[in-house]
């Protein structure tokens, strides 16, 4: 059971802290021009953060208690291939579809 005091303290501080993280550079730097070396690195933010975020979710999913799950590996791979070859929609449907198909074909794995 989560106490009301703990919940509200956490939620308000997390909301505030998360906003400050999001506001940080956009809020403080505003329209100021950035140096070239920084612009060069900022181009790679999305393509580095998202894989770093997704890798542990795929390899050690919380839903299986951190055990590597073949169904989720296959689903992630299917989503990646569909996303590279076809489209975003294909990646989303292909990924979840592969997961369900695997569960249907190999219910024990």
């Amino acid at each position: 059971m989560i106490s009301d005091a703990a919940f509200w303290t956490l939620t308000v501080l997390l909301g505030l802290g998360t906003f400050l993280i999001r506001f940080s550079f956009l809020g403080l730097l505003g329209g100021r021009p950035l140096p070239g070396w920084l612009l060069l690195h900022l181009k790679y933010v999305g393509v580095a953060v998202l894989p770093a975020l997704v890798t542990p979710m795929v390899l050690w999913p919380a839903a299986t208690g951190g055990e590597t799950d073949p169904a989720r590996l296959v689903a992630a791979l299917a989503a990646l291939v569909a996303g590279l070859r076809l489209s975003v929609v294909a990646a989303l449907i292909g990924g979840m579809g592969a997961l369900y198909l695997w569960h249907f074909l190999f219910p024990t794995l």
Binding site: A6, T11, F19, G30, L50, V54, A76
Partner: protein, 235 residues
């Protein structure tokens, strides 16, 4: 001009509803299961509006972790958004303070990835169109995030675990990454981030993520510089 860009953003983000809907519902259901009332569930989704960190905070509170520990872990998960914040500066930094504050509140992975991909593909977009596009993206995602959290909280246990809705989040992030892999340095950045994330697996939750992301960013930038030098060397 702004209106067309707004609706373009709205349409470009529509495919992500396929995963935002189940993921928001899952959060609502899990939060109710953890003993939160409807007001608490909604307060969290509205105040924080960052699914991964909400799950982190909730899980730790349920495990009776001290509030401070849960807070730090959840904030660490969100630290990646400081990088998003910086990367958005060249595109929408000119906007007024109020607009920048609202854009910051709405800064989620989908909005960032979809917007930056479009900005880079269409350099002819005006600064005003870029801001309108960003708000268009979030005008679809944000109400759906609130609404489906509520729906999940109401439906609760009716969501069977066999649906593996937890995996909607990583699938979504993969779908966001694939279109970003459009040059060799981008692929290098992604691979370096994956390898670093595996190497940093033992790190506390958010710190491994941010370290791995920084490795990927530097790898991508270095790859671009190296390719540039090589091209000049040949010319």
């Amino acid at each position: 001009m702004g209106r067309a860009a707004f609706w373009q953003g709205y349409r470009d983000c529509a495919p992500f509803l396929v995963v935002v809907v189940p993921f928001a519902m899952l959060f609502g259901a899990v939060a109710r299961d953890a003993g939160l009332d409807l007001l608490q569930v909604m307060a969290m989704s509205v105040l924080v509006i960052a699914g991964a960190s909400q799950f982190t905070a909730l899980t730790l509170l349920q495990d009776q972790a001290p509030v401070f520990v849960a807070l730090m872990a959840a904030l660490a998960v969100n630290l990646r958004m400081a990088l998003y914040s910086a990367a958005l500066v060249p595109h929408v930094g000119h906007a007024g303070l109020g607009a920048r504050a609202l854009m910051s509140y709405l800064m989620v992975d989908q909005a960032f990835a979809v917007a930056v991909k479009t900005y880079e593909e269409r350099p002819q977009m005006t600064p005003g169109e870029k801001v309108a596009y960003y708000f268009g993206v979030m005008m679809l995602i944000c109400p759906v995030w609130y609404g489906c959290t509520l729906l999940g909280a109401l439906v609760g246990r009716a969501i069977p675990p066999e649906l593996s809705l937890d995996f909607a989040a990583p699938i979504c992030f993969i779908a966001l990454t694939a279109p970003l892999l459009r040059s060799l340095p981008h692929v290098v950045a992604a691979l370096a981030a994956v390898l670093a994330a595996i190497g940093f697996h033992g790190f506390p939750a958010g710190l491994g993520l941010i370290s791995a992301a920084l490795v990927g960013i530097v790898a991508g930038a270095q790859a671009e510089l190296w390719l540039g030098r090589r091209a000049r060397g040949r010319a």
